[in-house]
Each structure stands twice: as structure tokens, then as C-alpha cells.
Symmetry: C2
């Protein structure tokens, strides 16, 4: 069987299973999730033995220490997968929910009922725990899923898939609802994104290269999760102490993630008082500053920023810094160089806070809070499957609800149209 | 300038205009809509003179009477365009709306604010009134739009575009927000659906050929509007009089539209009493029946249905009829042959009504009502721009709200993440 045929067959099976899953009762889905959590804990030794093979192959292939770390199914990672499943089981089931029903003048009752999307293709890179996280969210939202992980994690992913299948079968759900593609070359990714007959959506998660490859080749609709070039604008009447705290948190708390701060914009009226202060804090934490000319003047340690610093997603302890003339210039800079991911303002001015919230065209816009809050858990969605940076279907963190659609349900008494 | 360059330039201008339109105050957008309504009425003679050229060219090219009828800007069509714009002006503006704000445990207030999608590519066939209807809906929802109509209507569309531009300019809005592509070959359509840099979504409306062409070639996300193979299931304990009325309405009231009935499924327990009765009504209205063997036995006038009748969208006075053993068989038939558009059941049984509503995977599912109600106006959305048959972003009729997305707005007091 060719890779294309294999992938098509897995997707076909998932599609068939998705019909049963779509109407599966909540307790049965929750049982599968908690059962899988149990199995992960019980089969820990086995999982780690299989994972050791992936790790050894990775070491031979010269993977970096950071990559090997992400690949490792440590005790902690396994426990966090299990706990994550139990959390998802505890979340409300979105399927079947109808927020409001309206009565039309002719007496028809019209509502919109949440339904699963159907079959989701999920493409990701090296971390095997994503296999379980994604399977759990798709399952709870009534979707079948076809998972395609990175080649480094193949053995680990197949071992996890085996446990997922057992948990489904033992809970009376079709094991075919969660498929793991057992090969990992680009041909398999390509075959997957072409299955418009069976897949309803593809979600790629990983580096920009992967996402562009998927977006450019997909016949199936794609929910993209591009880079986060996040901005913080320190306004002229900001509480500067708050601004320092938020800058440091947004940049340093976890610099390698998409909601970390990449560019700091500072109103010229506070540049002199604010920049040396925030620079001292950042430099003491090992942050490299790349500034506009005025920044470099006020902070001698700063390097001169180049044009390609403004659209950069460093994912590292580096921060671009620019002094702006006014709020207009800050908004224009964000529109020109931002990635519609996350932007924040620090201000005491009510009107300017409101203007920032309305005019900035990003998935999450914050006043007086760290960019690090762009996260499904932090914003109250429960777990998240990714952060969409395009506006169609979902914009920002995607939780269970974003894995569903809505159909109209209409309850009549014999109405016909005249 | 090549067609590709021309289309790219129109899209670029629309993108630029979209930023201003996104934050335009509601009264200004409404003024542009009512102003356009005035201009349409005032410039009626001019529009009809230009339209006469399209009609003459169409007659020479051998267009059918039905096609010429759709192409005509009659007094009635112009008045209905104008009235439609006034209705859209009277609808609530979705932009800026926040349904709920939730307070997180750390004090952050989190809400989701409706925002325009950005720039919409709208591709349609011969009716010039669609130009105005689509422009009105996009404008009210704060979106710029690039319109690509059919070649038969080109002169009429350009004349309408001129009025739209005047109405925008006279209301203080950028005229570039509504673009009409001034050429009509497939190359222009192809160029348009490749503008992923400037367009946020493409909406094709027209025949299956156009929609498939767009879906297969688009680099921009597509909101598809495929065919409607709509079913009505007459259950074993249906009120048969109601079932006759609904069948006749769904099939005959306007057979050429996507929410008209195409296949009637009848529970075997009522086939003998129901089929001759409904057939008499349908035959008297000139409907051709194509039935399963049992239907043909009970209704001698019925022709024998072939396999390709079950997935057919006739858009004509033809109805496929099948007697089913039970509800399971009805649901399986719908899953196998339906197009996820509109299905209805007639029943007196509460439990079976509920099961049908939950299990049928279509954009609109109705109990005891005609399929003809799958319509934005009828379901309470106000005007509609199309009916989506895929689940991503919108499923079913799309009104103003479906032309928007939502961003997260977060109001903090200095919160950082720990």
C-alpha cells in the first residue's frame, strides 16, 4: 500500500467513526478520557522503554539537548498528560448546546446547536505528549482525529496510540476515532492535507516552515497558527512601575513561546524616565536589547536595531525597543510589523485604553496585563489546541468550543412558506 | 497591466481601505447604505440604459429567456435593491459587540469583541443585483469587498460600482472599500482567489462548476455554498395532512432554489395512506415523481428512480421518492445521499423529533416545517450573503454576524503571569 493509500484509508476509517462519536453521550467520552489517564499511569514503564528508543535514535541523529528534552516522556510529562485528560473530562461538553432559541413571528422556534466539526487532521512536530493532549480535546468535542507527529517521536506516538485505542474500546467508543499515521515523511503530510473527502479541517502546530507547507498544499481548510510578534506599548501616562513589571514578565517568564514579548514601544514623553529603568531590569536578566537611535542614546548597552528586528519573532532573551512619537505611530508600527497575535498597552488613560482595544487588529488585545495571558487556560477556555492567527472560524486560543460548529435546529407546528 | 496585476492592485487598495472601514462609526456606514439606495432610485433611467446594452449583448449571444430575466434591472429589481439596502442599514451593527465579559480568578476581565473579517472576495454569476446586495452586507459588517460578477452583467456592474463609490465618498468612507473587477474571464477569477496577501476569505455563489473551480484553485480560505439535496422524512405517526402541505410547499413553492425539496422519504407504515394522497397533489401541480419500486406500485404515475436520482439536485418540478423501513434507514439515506444542506421530519413523536434534530448532520434541521425556511431572513439573521454547506466558520445561512470574527479583549490591573 502506498503512503497515499494508507493515509486515505486511515482518514476513511476516522470519518466512519466520527459519525458514532458525534452523538456519543458525554459520560462515555469522559470515561474514555479518564480510562486513558489510568492507562498512561499504569503503563508508564512500557511507555518510557519505547520512548528510550526514540531518544537513542535522536541522540545518534544529533538532536540538540533542547529537542531531546521535548521528546522525553519523563515521569512528570506522563503525569501531566494524565492530569490534562482528567481536566478535559471535567470540562463541560460543548456538543448539543443551544445558547438561545428565538421564536419567529410565524411561531417557528429557531436555535443553533453545537456539533463536532467531524474529522480533524492534526500535524505537529516532536513532542509526543501533544498526541495525547490533541486526542483528548478532539474526543471530548466529538471529533475523530488523524494525528501526524514528528519522525523523532514515532515509536512513542505509536505506543500512545495503542493505549488510546484501548481506552476507546473499553469505553464503548470506536477505536478508529483516533488514528496515528505510522509513517513520518513529508509525503504522508502531503497526502493528509489532500484528504478533503474525509477531513473537515487541518490544524498544523509547529515551526513556520511546517505551517507554510501545510497552508500551501492543503485541499482541506487549514486553521493556521503563525508566529507571535507580540508588542507592548507603554503609553505616556502609564504607571511606570506596572509597565516595568509587565515588560519583564512578558519577555522573561518564558521567552521561547509565541505569546512572549518581542517588541517594546515606548511613548516619547516617558522614554527618558522609563527606558533606563526597564533596561536595568531586563539587562540583569540577560536580555539583549536592540533599540531605535533614541533608545540607544538612553540605554548605552542597547545594540542598534536593524530593519529586520521589527518583524522578528526571537523566541529568545532578545527585545526590540522603539520610541514612538504618539499613539498613532504605535498603532501603525503594530499594523505594519505585528502578526495579529497579541498586543498590550500600559496606560492610565481610559479613552486611550478603549481606543487601543478597538483599533488593534490582533487575536488578543490587553490593557495593563502581560502578553503571556494569550492562552486558552488563562482566558478561561480550559485546555487549548492552538492559537489561530487568522480570523476565519476562530481567532486566538482554540478550546473545545472552537473544535465545534453550529447547525440550525427549527421546531415547527406545520409552518410552510408563503 | 496584466489581469493578475490589475486584480492584485484592486485587492491591495481594498485592504488599505479595510483598515478605515473596520473602525468606521455605525451611522456613517448606515448613511452610505441609505445614500446608495437614494442614488439607485434617482439614477434608475441611467442604470436601465446601461443594462440594456448587457441585455442586447446577451440576446445576441443566445442567452436563455430565464438568463435574460435574471440579468434585467427592472423597476422592481432596482426598488428591491434599494429597499434591501435600507433594511441592512436598519439591522444592528455586529462590529464592536461583546456578548459577555467574564472575570477570571486573578481579576482579569475577558471578553470577545466582534470585528470584521477584513477583505472579502465575492464571486458570483449573472445577476447584477447581487453586486449591490453583497456590497451592502460587507459594508455594514465593516468589511471591504472585491466583487467579481459574471461577464453577461459587466456593464451593469460597472455602473452600479460607480454609484457605490459615490455613496461611500459622500458619506466620508473610502471609495476603494468596494471594488468591482472590470474584466470577467476565468483568469481574473483565478487571480482573485490567489490573493492571500490581501483577501481574508473568498465566497463563491453560483453553479457547482464555479464553486469547485474556486475551491480547487484558491489560496485564500473559501466559504463554500454547494448544492442542496434536501430531504423530507414523513414518519410513521406523522400528521398526514401536515405532511402533504409541507411536501407541496417544499417542492413547489419555488423549485429552482437550493432549499427546495429534492427527495421525499416515507416510513413504510404510512406509505399506503400517504403516498397516493401526496402524489395526487404533486401531480396536479406538474411534479414528475421518480420512485422506489414500492412507490411505483402505490403511485402508477411515478417513474422508476435510478441510482443517480438519489444524489440529484433537480432544481425543477421533479421529486425522488423512497419508502424506508424505519427511521434508521431514513437517517442512513440522508447521510449517504444528502448534501448537509436542509432536512426536515414530519412527526408527532417527541422522541423521534429529538433524535432527528440531533442526528442529522445538516446546516438546517427542521421538525414539522418546510425546508424552504433555510434562509437568513426566515431564520432571523436579517439579510444573507449565502448558505454555507461546510462547517468551518459558518454552517447554514450567513448574515452580518457570519461576516465577522471575534478577538479577545482583556482588561487588567497590572496582572502578570506566574
Amino acid at each position: 500500500m502506498s503512503v497515499e493509500q494508507l493515509v486515505a484509508e486511515l482518514c476513511r476509517q476516522a470519518k466512519e467513526a466520527s459519525r458514532r462519536l458525534a452523538t456519543a453521550p458525554t459520560p462515555r467520552k469522559d470515561r474514555a478520557l479518564t480510562r486513558l489517564a489510568e492507562l498512561l499511569r499504569r503503563e508508564k514503564d512500557h511507555l518510557q522503554a519505547v520512548n528510550a528508543k526514540d531518544l537513542e535514535a535522536g541522540r545518534k541523529a544529533g538532536l540538540s539537548a533542547a529537542m531531546l528534552d521535548r521528546l522525553t516522556l519523563s515521569d512528570k510529562v506522563i503525569e501531566s498528560m494524565a492530569a490534562g485528560l482528567e481536566e478535559v473530562a471535567a470540562l463541560p461538553d460543548p456538543v448539543g448546546q443551544i445558547d438561545t432559541m428565538r421564536r419567529r413571528p410565524n411561531g417557528l422556534l429557531v436555535g443553533r446547536m453545537r456539533i463536532p466539526l467531524g474529522v480533524i487532521g492534526f500535524i505537529y512536530e516532536s513532542r509526543p505528549n501533544v498526541t495525547v493532549d490533541a486526542a483528548g480535546l478532539c474526543l471530548k468535542s466529538g471529533n475523530a482525529v488523524v494525528l501526524k507527529g514528528g519522525k523523532e517521536a514515532l515509536e512513542s506516538n505509536l505506543a500512545l496510540a495503542e493505549l488510546i485505542r484501548r481506552a476507546l474500546a473499553e469505553s464503548g467508543l470506536p477505536g478508529e476515532a483516533v488514528q496515528v499515521v505510522p509513517t513520518t515523511d513529508r509525503a504522508a503530510t502531503l497526502a493528509l492535507v489532500k484528504q478533503e473527502r474525509y477531513l473537515d479541517v487541518v490544524i498544523p502546530r509547529g515551526g513556520e516552515g511546517l505551517i507554510r507547507f501545510v497552508a500551501q498544499n492543503a485541499a482541506v481548510p487549514v486553521l493556521k497558527h503563525y508566529k507571535g510578534v507580540c508588542h507592548l506599548f507603554v503609553d505616556r501616562d502609564a504607571d511606570l512601575e506596572m509597565a516595568v513589571e509587565i515588560t519583564v514578565n512578558a519577555k522573561c517568564q518564558r521567552p521561547g513561546v509565541c505569546n512572549a514579548l518581542e517588541t517594546l514601544l515606548v511613548h516619547r514623553e516617558v522614554a527618558r524616565s522609563f527606558l533606563p529603568r526597564v533596561a536595568a531590569e531586563l539587562l540583569s536578566r540577560g536580555v539583549e536589547l536592540r533599540g531605535c537611535p533614541l533608545t540607544c542614546e538612553l540605554v548605552p548597552e542597547a545594540l542598534e536595531a536593524q530593519e529586520d528586528d521589527w518583524p522578528a519573532e526571537y523566541l529568545d532573551l532578545i527585545l526590540a525597543v522603539k520610541v514612538v512619537q504618539d499613539m498613532d505611530q504605535a498603532l501603525e508600527h503594530i499594523a505594519a510589523y505585528g502578526s495579529q497575535h497579541t498586543e498590550a498597552i500600559v496606560t492610565r488613560d481610559y479613552g486611550r485604553a478603549r481606543r487601543f482595544l478597538e483599533e488593534v487588529d490582533s487575536s488578543v488585545v490587553l490593557v495593563n496585563a502581560s502578553t503571556r495571558f494569550n492562552d486558552g487556560g488563562q482566558l478561561g477556555l480550559g485546555a487549548e489546541i492552538g492559537i489561530s492567527t487568522s480570523k476565519l472560524h476562530a481567532f486566538g486560543p482554540m478550546g473545545l468550543e472552537e473544535l465545534t460548529s453550529r447547525k440550525f435546529v427549527v421546531m415547527g407546528q406545520g409552518q410552510v412558506r408563503s
